[in-house]
């Protein structure tokens, strides 16, 4: 499937989902689905840098909060419509990824990881001390009373926005994965020195991937203040965003765009259930334990199992690709490009 066809199909499905959801009367569904989709975007974005390029980002929460607080700032200053906040938040978070990548991606990979960890703490400190966006007290971002486009309630609009943004994130991730850029990123992941020697512009590609990844995380955060109506630093910078966006691709499988989606939908749904039935502290514990179990026992995630099963049953149509691309092609039909 070419990327254009994939994009058309993805957006068609997204619109169909939005249209079909109008039949659902239960407001809780929209709220829960919003959270799960938010995790799909975060996991997909994390995977562009983590899964494709092999660089760990522990600061998903920082990028997410950058998007959210861009919205807060804009709402306080200009009251722009939601799409403007989304675009602005995406750009600011992308810029953050660019700067952080430029400063630390030239060094050993682990320094980038440490810098992202520290980034979350510092941005948190910064926001807590910044009174204009509410500081430590937090800020109210009220949902507009009139809902545009004929949606019955504002949460329906936010949910629909999230569906479309998810489609966009998946299209971007798949486009990167199947392009020359994606092959360059995979080369960096497998052996950076060899890639550099073969003429892959490693630094430029790494910074590109950090920028796109950061921008998508920021995009996921932009509607968040509207979703909660009230935002405070510890909600936006919650460590659970960081741990979830790492755990989800690892559990689903990091080699293709589908892995993070599977991981996010599974883990996101489980968390919604646990949060309602038991408590939110327990659901964090579950995510942590699953992360450690998968990373030690099933390092290629669920998609890795699918691929291993396929290799043991060669009667099934084999996907294209050599051994070194492994699970990369598992899960979607052979490509025609």
């Amino acid at each position: 499937m070419s990327n254009r066809v994939f994009a058309a199909v993805a957006f068609a499905i997204a619109l169909a989902i939005v249209a079909a959801s109008k039949l659902i009367a239960n407001d809780y569904f929209f709220s829960a689905a919003y959270t799960v989709l938010q995790f799909v975007i975060l996991a997909t974005a994390w995977n562009i840098l983590g899964g494709y390029t092999g660089y760990v980002n522990f600061g998903s929460a920082a990028f997410f909060a950058t998007g959210a607080y861009t919205t807060v700032f804009l709402v306080k200053a200009y009251h722009p419509p939601l799409p403007v906040s989304i675009v602005a938040g995406t750009l600011v978070a992308g810029l953050l990824g660019l700067v952080l990548g430029y400063l630390t991606l030239r060094l050993r990979g682990v320094f980038f990881a440490i810098a992202t960890l520290a980034l979350a703490v510092v941005l948190f400190t910064f926001v807590v001390n910044w009174d204009y966006v509410g500081g430590a007290r937090g800020a109210y971002v009220l949902q507009p009373r009139e809902v545009p486009l004929g949606f019955p309630r504002y949460i329906h609009l936010l949910y629909s926005t999230m569906v479309l943004m998810t489609a966009l994130a998946l299209v971007v991730a798949r486009a990167i994965e199947t392009s020359t850029v994606g092959r360059g990123l995979a080369a960096i992941r497998d052996d950076e020195l060899a890639a550099e020697c073969a003429g892959v512009p490693t630094l430029r590609l790494k910074i590109f991937s950090a920028t796109v990844s950061g921008a998508l995380m920021g995009m996921a955060g932009t509607p968040f203040p509207y979703y909660l109506s009230y935002i405070e630093p510890s909600a936006a910078f919650n460590l659970s965003y960081a741990v979830n966006s790492i755990a989800m691709p690892l559990i689903g499988g990091m080699m293709s765009w589908l892995g993070p989606v599977i991981g996010a939908v599974l883990l996101g749904t489980v968390q919604q259930l646990v949060q309602v039935t038991i408590s939110s502290a327990w659901n964090l514990l579950i995510v942590g334990v699953l992360l450690v179990l998968f990373v030690t026992l099933a390092p290629n995630g669920l998609m890795g199992w699918v691929e291993a099963w396929r290799r043991r049953h060669p009667s099934r149509p084999r996907t294209r690709g050599r051994r070194d691309t492994q699970a990369k092609d598992a899960g979607f039909p052979p490509s025609r490009e």
């Binding site: 400063l103 060094l107 320094f111 520290a118 703490v121 510092v122 400190t125 910064f126 942590g288 390092p299």
Partner: protein, 291 residues
Amino acid sequence: MDFSTALVLNAIIAGLLLGGFYAAVSVGISISFGMLDVVNIAHPAFIILGSYIAYIVNDRMGLDPIVVSVVLSPLFFAFGMLLYRIYYLCFEKRGQESLRGLAFFFGILFITEVLLLLVFGVDYRMVQTRYSETTWRLGVVDFPLRLAVPFLVSVVMVVSVQLLLTHSFFGRAVLAVAQDQLALRLMGVNPVKIKERAFALSIATAGVAGAFLIVIQPVQPAIGREFIGLVFAVCVLGGMGSIWGTLLGAFVLGLAESFTSTFFGPSWSPAVSFGLLLATLALKPAGLLGR
């Protein structure tokens, strides 16, 4: 004028005392990250764990937290050996430490934090010692014993780690692991065993540093995160794998934080370590005393 001199003097003393404590917090990272190349980002979580163990014993039996932590350090040592075993078998042996190993330690950090949260809740806990309320005064300068006692013990600890590393067979083997594992193998030493013990030593220092932490300030499960940036900043600033560098880096960071909180307010101090870390990475990645 007199007032500001006193303020500056007190900021310097507080910074140095704090720096001594930071050295104890970071010396473990200097060993595991600087020498063994094991990026243990869960180190701060073990420090908090040490704080809570010291707290329980102090609360139930009224024993001094620092003495308790030193007596219990073999427990942390054993735990460190176990943790390195798992890490080695699952990641280092398969060559997956760069991404999955990091994710593993992140998961451990998270689990430790959430477990402490579930058991102890979000309340701040503190300990009672005979010296925590006492402050010595020399002219205009204050020496709160709550800071000075951990300072002394931690400097002793860091210096003994340095002496152990340079004056014993084990220590030299650790330094050799950092330089050339193959050569070490040719000398008939198993680098995995050496790394296992050195890593265990780093976790043991985390346990003791945890007791210092709870003597200095009240502890809550989530404050471990603030130390992640700090320990790596100290380690990189001082120069990877250099214990003297760690001591120096810790004093620099302590002074920087003390001045920031004296002149700009304490709510800004978490940003200092990150700023120093970024500046070091951008300007002098080898650190102050790096090779």
